[in-house]
Subunit: 354 residues, 2 copies
DNA sequence: CTGTTAGCGCATTCAA
DNA sequence: TTGAATGCGCTAACAG
């Protein structure tokens, strides 16, 4: 970025122009230190500041010991409605507390994620919130742990959303349980052959959802060897790729579990283009219940998470907890069955199934 | 926010521990000033810094004359896909240039918008981008003009998306033309009686779209007194309210123009619940072509704007232009007719209409 | 190549 | 109530 030339109006300018000392100007403008400035004097100073368009230098203020009133939020992709909803919650609480939110977008890169945390630490953010899924990587985890550790040790707050396996305040969405509930619901409907469109297993969220789903199937007596695992990016395009793979390999699955709504969106696109009828030929489910899912035709079955509340909770945990404790707040997941799921054609809705 | 207790590891600590001067440590760690530090010495210092978990204080760096590599982005609502798309463009370009983006969410309050700009100025942001519509308010405009003026005068960049009538770099989406094209298309289809679900006319974007639409209708000979103006908030809920008003007053309109897709979404919800068939009973159109519109059933006719490109362009304008010039980059709007629009039932698709 | 000196703009001790 | 002095952590001159 460009170097900024001088030309700023400083507190000293305001003080000189008002005929007072910088200290007095500072007190008049920001009322610090419990000290009070004479009514008329203050008014005069404020007036001069306005006339000069004085804007305090936030860096100087921070450096001189004041608070930065800044919160760093790390997300994978701000255009993903999942993160948008969480961000909304975080921003709302931050606003209530007079803090500004800085959003860092990592596009799912571990290096970038660490880099953002370091940058936020450099900015001395009052709190750092990690909204994205953690990675299944020992080095990453150790590095992140150290960063957050120091963040807290130096008086800053932090919180993570999703399982990161880090000793910091954590907001835990029901991933295993929700996916398990979905699995049971599908089995109860009569499905026996499944495909799972999963993101990369290095994402903890992905792994948990898949495990929860498979565990439930196994518990219901479904042979897991019949489950096709489609491993693709955790994105709309990834969903598209998964659906294409499904089609290409001539899958016999009657139900497709996409580990996120966004992936389901992509998959549905490809399926529609290929003439696959949902749910008649194939039932499709997603995860998160972002607002769009209920409006599609057919409306998409999914698992509801109160994303905005999770964001709010994360922000609150981040600012309200010292380095001592690391509370965990769990958010329940609720299976929402809609029109994109139906008993498989081969197994009419006969009672009892099997 | 909480005050941050001390405990930070400083450059001085690293220097002392390494047995060198702070200046040397600074150079070794950040390689500034063209000066070079001896290979082995540097390595030792870097090692010490790592061991101590040294994180430079960004405020001190900024204060001492370095760049802040920070960009402030002001939006009305980050969960609105319109802004999410623009933000994505802004973030992408900022990332290319090594800058971090700070997002401020105003929820359409003029005061908050000004407050964010002041805050970004206080943070000495390298650039400030206003992504939301401007307001039709002389005081607001004058205040914003002064703020941005000073931002630029002090070496910072800035840019606005949408008509703000400010002498700064501007990205202009086709609002009047797009809305006019929509109006003509609807008239060509045979529609004569219209309703317009508009946001508050104090938003410049809203006013331009409505004016463009009405002008086109007038040019086509449609009596404007037959156009019902529904004035509601510029949001999904506003769209809902507009549709309810339409229903309540027993409107005879055959086509509903919603000034944004998000409003159209809300309106469609209410219409569906009320049993109004789209497009058979009522044609509905939106604006912006956010990704969801093409997936709804019926797919929604709208006006396409390349939002992400607009965001990219704004960011580029902001950093590449000094206070001298204020270029205007126009982005074309393209009418996209889909299934939510059809000739009105009363006027079968007879050639020529009228 | 490295150390020394001097501020960046502000809030906050202290003294008056 | 106000003013003077100090230092936050760092970088950018200058010397050496």
């Amino acid at each position: 970025m460009r170097i900024r030339p001088g030309g700023q109006v400083t507190l000293a300018d305001v003080a000189r122009e008002s005929g007072v000392s910088p200290a007095t100007a500072s007190r008049a403008l920001h009322g610090g230190g419990g000290r009070v400035v004479g009514q008329d004097l203050r008014e005069r100073i404020v007036e001069v500041a306005r006339r000069l368009h004085y804007v305090p230098n936030a860096h100087a203020q921070a450096l001189a010991g004041g608070s930065t009133a800044t919160v760093g939020l790390v997300v994978h992709d701000i255009t993903d409605p999942y993160f948008a909803a969480i961000a909304r919650g975080v921003i709302a609480v931050a606003a209530e507390r007079g803090a500004l939110v800085t959003v860092g977008t990592t596009f799912r890169s571990m290096e970038r994620e660490l880099e953002f945390v370091r940058t936020f630490r450099a900015q001395r953010a009052d709190a750092i919130v990690l909204a994205g899924s953690g990675f299944e990587d020992a080095d990453y985890r150790a590095a992140m742990r150290e960063e957050l550790d120091h963040q807290r040790r130096t008086g800053g707050g932090c919180a993570v959303v999703s399982e990161h396996d880090l000793p910091v305040p954590t907001v835990l969405p029901g991933n295993r349980e929700g996916a398990a509930g979905l699995g049971r619901a599908l089995v109860a409907m009569g499905h026996r052959r499944f495909a799972v469109a999963g993101g990369p297993p290095c994402l903890t969220t992905v792994r948990h959802r898949i495990e929860g789903f498979l565990d439930a199937l196994a518990a219901c007596g479904v042979p897991l060897c019949d489950v096709e695992l489609l491993d693709h990016p955790f994105s709309e395009d990834g969903g598209r790729a998964a659906a294409r793979e499904l089609l290409d390999r001539g899958s016999r699955a009657t139900a497709l579990f996409c580990v996120s709504d966004v992936m389901a969106l992509g998959a549905l696109d490809v399926l529609a283009a290929a003439g696959v009828a949902v749910p008649d030929d194939l039932s499709v489910v997603g995860y998160n219940d972002v607002p769009m899912m209920r409006r599609l035709v057919p409306a998409v079955s999914t698992v509801r998470l109160d994303l905005e509340a999770m964001g709010r909770s994360a922000m609150e945990l981040a600012v309200d907890h010292g380095s001592a404790d690391a509370p965990v707040v769990r958010f329940p997941a609720e299976v929402v069955l809609r029109a994109s799921t139906a008993p498989p054609a081969a197994v009419p809705a006969r009672e009892g199934g099997r």
